[in-house]
Amino acid sequence: MTDFAERDGPSVTEGAPAPAEAVRTRGLYKRFGRQVAVAGVDLVVPAGSFAGLVGPNGAGKTTTLSMITGLLLPDAGSAEVGGSDVWRDPVAVKAHIGVLPEGLRLFERLSGRELLMYNGRLRGIPKDEVARRSEELLTVMDLVSSADKLVVDYSTGMRKKIGLAAALLHNPRVLFLDEPFEGVDPISANTLVEVLRRYTSSGSTVVFSSHVMELVERLCDWVSVMNLGRIVAQGPLSEVRGGQTLNEALLHLVGARATGEQGLSWLGSPGA
């Protein structure tokens, strides 16, 4: 497929061997006031992998992804995508990444189709090509019947799907998804998974954060575990979980304490 998003500037050329690492951060650090959100993250994601970024709430996953995608300025450290520094060489990076940030932040007053057209044209893809790709994406995402409704009236699942479609429109090399499956019904989740599998099978990279360990276990071949703003484990899925389920491995890694049985004695006893 022709990459129309290729802007002027010496980005990674098609012929050259792609770097083995799609994403690499060194000592990424961010604090908000006194709260250190990300305390020196060295994230590595090999090219072509389906990578999961997991960890409890407040571990710093969203902040890390925002800094890698150029939406949040890090206080220290560096982030590279496809061998180019995100903050020093934004032209090379931004043309080749697709992003679905947390919180379903979309242009609410555009219809689904208009949102895709807007994204494609913003990236300099010719109008006819945007229209063609949009129709295909709308069909695959099963959004054709809602394509002319305003995004503000979409359900959570529909919003995630249109957001993913917008992120895929320019055929990025690396896709960053923040909680893509949160609040999504099983049918839509299945569609999302199918599209993402097809996308990675051609050698593109997906990095996504999630709380749903079963899903990460089923989809990912690479896992990075975050806790308290740091990477606590990272590597191929089989290595990270080491014979246990990923859920058990995670509980062990973040040192979760067993929930006590004390209290709540009234709960469940009928008529108490």
Binding site: R7, T69, G70, L71, L72, L73, P90, V91, V93, K94, A95, I97, V99, P101, G103, R105, L106, F107, E108, R109, L110, S111, R113, E114, M117, Y118, N119, R121, L122, R123, G124, P126, K127, D148, K149, L150, V152, D153, A166
Partner: protein, 518 residues
Amino acid sequence: MAWLFVRLKLRLIAGNLRGDAMRQIGFVFTLIAAAAVALGGFALIALLRFAPQDVAVDAGMVIFTVIALIWVVGPLLVFGVDETLDPARLVLFPLTARQMAVGMFAASATGPWPLASLIVLLGAVAGLARDVSGLLIGLVAVPLHLAFCLVASRTVTTALSRLLRSRRGRDLLAIGVVFVVLLSQVPNLVINRGVAGPPLELLAGLAALVRWSPPGMAAHAIAGGGLLGLAELAAVGVLVIVLAAVWVAVLRRTLVRADSSTEAASVGRSRFDRLLPGGPFGAVVAKELKYLRREPRGRMGWLSAVGVSTVLLFSLSSGPGGLSGASLAIAVACLTALMLGLQGVNVFGIDGRALWMNAVVYSAPRDLRTDLAARHLAISLAAGPAIAVLAVAGALVAGDLVWAVPALLTAAGALPIALGVGAVTSVITPYTYPQRVNAFTSAAPGQGGVAVAGSFGAMLATALLAAPVVIPVLMGVTWLSVVAVPYGLAVAYGGRRLAATIGYARLPDLLAAVSRPS
């Protein structure tokens, strides 16, 4: 139950203030305002004692009606500020509709504004009562009228609460707010232009209109006293009870009816889009033009700018110091251009949390410059016709259609000046538009100061930059209007350049500033 709701309301007021200095200051101002309204209102109505009897009664009836209207319309404009008022939040508690009605009535009687209303109304007892029976009736009529105001206001908000919770309803309401604000200018214009004859006749006419409404009867009962007063009092009491029954019935129905907010209509595909060039410039122009039509906050700003300009056309031309001749047409057109240009002081605010979609694409200041230019073109496409209409209207009111030409030229220069300045304020003082539309705030909590600073700075800078051209033209050097357009375009270009350089360097901050939770 009533006491529980009163405590809930007090707790909500206190919780809202905790740890937020801006809100605490805001609340102190609310208290000061309520106290001022209470004392000022009391004094003003009490002064009716010194007016002739019939004038005092007429004024009292009209004032009581106005207070009731404020109670009905006011909460609609700020709907959502107070959780005790939304029955949807109470559905899951095991309460009967009657219990809920009593509780919500008690909650809405709690707070600074109900107390202020009570004090203002008590002024009527001092101002209207002529004998002991009037005084005694007044002491009952005032709480009864307050109860009428509260129940009427509750009934309307409850009946509309389903609509108000839906997206479409809130969109409609946002437009309603503009009309209410503009309507408040009508009495001003009517009195200034003497349309309805002498003020006293106008008052008598209004009083006759509301004579048999509950507020009218309550006020008349206080003034008249005696047996007729007692009868009127009884009638108001019965009406309050009937209205309360209606409210309970509406409440009962509202609680179990489905929410209609998920029924979504489709939008047509725009033909105009095809005329626009491909690439980011065309994309942003197309998006902005759609947002002008579809985004309620945008529409609010545009409608009020055009509305205020129309009001200005009449108020500038009337009165002893009124403008006339070419300067009237020019002043009206330029003020319209300024006010429409001010819609661009926070151009990224309208994108809000979606602005990241642009930020993940833009990789040089040039990209941001293209974006700003596209937004300016979209605003100009919409503002142009409005300015033209007002320039022609101004010229017609002033007496010679030819005056529309310099007016239009000067305004066409003033608009890009405002836009260029707005581009810079958009990146220096960006702020988030509040999620909930209401008539009284324009920025997310804590950003009100930034919003005001941005708007005032933009207004001042625009006035200073426009002065070299606009003032000579107003003074009669009409030929200078020819250079207004190139001058304005140059200022706009400079503004965009500066804004793009500043804005690109702080793109992540910009993003955070317009995506605050609100």
